[in-house]
């Protein structure tokens, strides 16, 4: 029983509101808002309202992963972790060059992301739960990522973290020739 899934992302997309009135004098109750036969008033809030009075919750729950599927997911994760750990020995196997190091780092981050998504998606049931949970968690993760990346870059972490230190020579000044008359 799918509810009218009018998704209004409750974190900011405020375009479609129930009593969005154009003309100055149009009164409050806009024609849009009628109560659908299914008993649940057609709501345009964060789409999270489908559970409202829908009888028992999350119809999707019956067919959560079976134990067998969890085992396969576990083996995949184990395999990925072994692969990750192996990158420690790559410099010995493929030569200790920068290229190997960059490839190893990108592989590591990729595997990390995959494991992250797998555990969150399957073990933590994010794939099967209502979308609002997914939105809350992903919002938190991306939020943390964005803020700390900005903070690190403004602490010139990426350029060279060789911060001009006590007895380092001070960085040379970008000297542009100021025209004599200036």
């Amino acid at each position: 029983m799918s509810s009218t899934d009018t998704q209004t992302d409750d974190s900011g997309h405020f375009g479609q509101s129930v009593d969005d009135t154009g003309g100055a004098l149009q009164d409050a109750v806009s024609p849009v808002d009628e109560t659908t036969a299914a008993g649940a008033p057609k709501t345009s809030d964060g789409g999270a309202d489908d559970g409202r009075g829908m009888g028992h919750l999350d119809p999707a729950h019956e067919h959560g992963p079976t134990d067998g599927q969890y085992f396969t997911v576990f083996w995949i994760l184990l395999g990925l972790t072994v692969l990750e750990v192996s990158t420690y020995w790559w410099p010995d196997w493929f030569g200790d060059t920068d290229a190997v190091r960059y490839v190893a780092t990108t592989v590591l981050f990729a595997l990390m992301f995959i494991k992250f998504v797998m555990i969150a998606g399957i073990f933590m049931h994010l794939k099967f739960d209502p979308k609002i949970l997914r939105r809350v968690f992903i919002f938190g993760v991306l939020f943390a990522l964005a803020i700390y990346l900005i903070a690190l870059s403004s602490m010139n972490f990426w350029t060279d973290s060789g911060i001009p230190w006590f007895n380092d020579p001070p960085p040379e000044i970008v000297t542009t020739t100021v025209p004599e008359g200036g």
Binding site: A48, G51, H56, L111, I119, S161
Partner: protein
Amino acid sequence: MAEVSLEPAQDLEFPDDPHATATGISNPKLAMWVYLASDCLLFGGLISTYMVYRNRPGEIEGLAGSSLQISELFDIPFTSMTTFILLMSSLTMVLSVTSAMRGDHQRMRLWLGTTALLGALFLGGQIYEFSVFVSEGAGFTTNVSTSAFFTLTGFHGAHVFVGVLMLLSMLGLSFKREIEAEGVEVLGLFWHFVDIVWVVIFTVVYLVV
């Protein structure tokens, strides 16, 4: 005429009665997810602190204190063993949640106990690893790199420790009186989150050179 509905606006005694909530998710579950989202910020901060400080003692000359960088002391094979253990505990946690859902008491307690054991094993491994570091001269106050490392892994260890405590309490309570299947699932969320954070820490701290 005031619209009246016998539908209980809020089932306060059992607020986690989902069909009473507006989003269709039970309160404890939504609360746990909101908490986990905020915990991302906490671990994000600690990881950024570590990344700023990790090879600063070696990189910058003229600093007081030892110029030992914690990454020189890592014993990857041992730490990958503890990572496997934590990963396995995530599996046993899921199994205990599904058996709780099925109402199969026996297996739930079995898997809860194994998860707690594996968690404790992971903690033991960490404490051993720390003692090795300290013996090699990388104490908490040695320099910036070691204190950042110990703070980050210490906070994660604290979360694991609280997780193990909760697992054991859930195990104990399941003998005394009924526990909600929901309770086991929310505890599972916390435990998987702790495992996810270790996935990130293990990669960023130990493996990325």
